[in-house]
């Protein structure tokens, strides 16, 4: 018997969506490196990197919005408030940084074509390498945001309100322990 999981609410989407930016945006530079080393499929790898960045950045936008909704329902103490506010600030920075990085990479890819001025292989590679260095800084911000979020969940027990089968009226196969979210 196939069971469908309940459709999560906007705040409940946060624990699901946060894995997308981390996965997509940390894999994108691998494709950028492949675009530099592959003579035959360089352009295709670069396009794949751009698609990953676009999807990852879109996921950051959703993660920030769902995170704010989840934060409004989270258990709050002065210590949690401090970490939560820092997490929110880091997430905002991540959103700005990756919006700029994605736009910059699109410009590197399509700019020469739009300007009808082809860059040589060496200048193009140098530009991409500079971009990669900047990207590493962005990846550091992203990692810090993710780590901070992990600290909130695993260090402070701040969980999003995820609907359990019992809460949505579905038969629960196994008894579920009260989540940390329910602890007071």
């Amino acid at each position: 018997m196939i069971e469908f999981p309940p459709i999560p609410s906007w705040d409940g989407l946060h624990p699901l969506i946060i894995h997308f930016p981390v996965g997509l945006l940390l894999v994108a530079p691998v494709f950028i490196i492949l675009s530099l080393v592959s003579k035959r499929s360089g352009r295709a790898y670069a396009m794949a990197a751009l698609i990953l960045m676009l999807l990852g950045t879109a996921a950051v936008f959703v993660a920030v919005s769902t995170g704010e909704a989840a934060g409004q329902l989270a258990e709050r103490t002065p210590e949690i408030n401090r970490v939560l506010t820092h997490h929110e600030e880091l997430a905002e920075t991540t959103r700005i940084v990756f919006s700029v990085l994605t736009a910059a990479f699109a410009l590197i890819l399509f700019g020469p074509k739009l300007l009808k001025r082809e860059l040589g292989r060496v200048p193009s590679a140098v530009l991409t390498l500079i971009f990669l260095v900047l990207y590493m800084a962005g990846a550091l911000v992203l990692s810090n945001t993710a780590h901070n979020g992990g600290t909130l969940v695993h260090g402070y027990g701040v969980h999003a309100l995820v609907d359990t089968p019992a809460a949505t009226g579905q038969a629960a196969a196994a008894p579920s322990a009260p989540s940390a979210f329910e602890r007071d």
Partner: protein
């Protein structure tokens, strides 16, 4: 490729997708009726916040009379916050099919020092006992709207208790010092002396949602 994506296959795929979505929607349908305990708690909180609003306005008037302008401003800011909490609670009560009702008592006004002490006791009770208990029930009943409004109130009350504590500690030096300036978030009632953030630390709304209270 053309044979794989023939019209019958596409039709069947579309039908299967629609069926799956339908099943998903059915399984996700809300199951329980209105939780009565949270509604009862919301009514109690609405009554408490409405009374606190009236009490703090009376305390502010007394503080002005005694020459504690800054304390009067703090009481007015807290009164504005309590009004916002009451309005938030009322909205959830109405959403749950209830009618918000408050029994406003005549505030017992004493000296500003005693009023501050009473205010600290009230805020501490709401921060440590009342709202944590209400939140526990609301979480068990998975009432998101109630969790949100209780959370907003609890976070703001904690800040009020801190601000009142500071005022009580420095009360002697505040005599005749003129009015103070406080900022209150119109969404969650968070009260602060400085707007040194871009988003409200409690509800994450933009800082332009804050109003100044003197």
């Amino acid at each position: 490729m053309k044979t794989i994506l023939s019209r019958p296959v596409l039709t069947l795929t579309a039908a299967l997708l629609l069926g799956a979505l339908g099943a998903l929607a059915l399984t996700a349908a809300p199951a329980s009726s209105t939780p009565p305990k949270t509604l009862e708690n919301l009514q109690a909180a609405f009554n408490g916040e409405s009374n606190a609003h009236a009490r703090y306005l009376a305390f502010a008037q007394k503080a002005d009379e005694e020459g504690y302008g800054q304390v009067a401003s703090l009481f007015r800011a807290a009164a504005r916050a309590e009004e916002i909490h009451a309005a938030n609670h009322a909205e959830v009560i109405k959403k749950m099919g209830g009618a918000p009702t408050a029994d406003i008592q005549k505030p017992e006004v004493k000296s500003t020092r005693e009023n501050l002490e009473a205010a600290i006791r009230g805020e501490s009770y709401e921060r440590d006992t009342m709202y944590p208990d209400f939140l526990k029930v609301a979480r068990q009943e998975r009432n998101r709207d109630a969790i949100q409004t209780f959370n907003y109130a609890k976070t703001a009350e904690a800040e009020h208790a801190r601000l009142y504590g500071n005022a009580l500690q420095n009360l002697d030096s505040m005599k005749g010092a003129g009015k103070g300036t406080y900022y209150v978030c119109t969404i969650c009632g968070y009260t602060t002396t400085k707007l040194d953030f871009a988003k409200c630390p409690s509800c994450f709304n933009p800082v332009d949602k804050y109003v100044q209270v003197d």
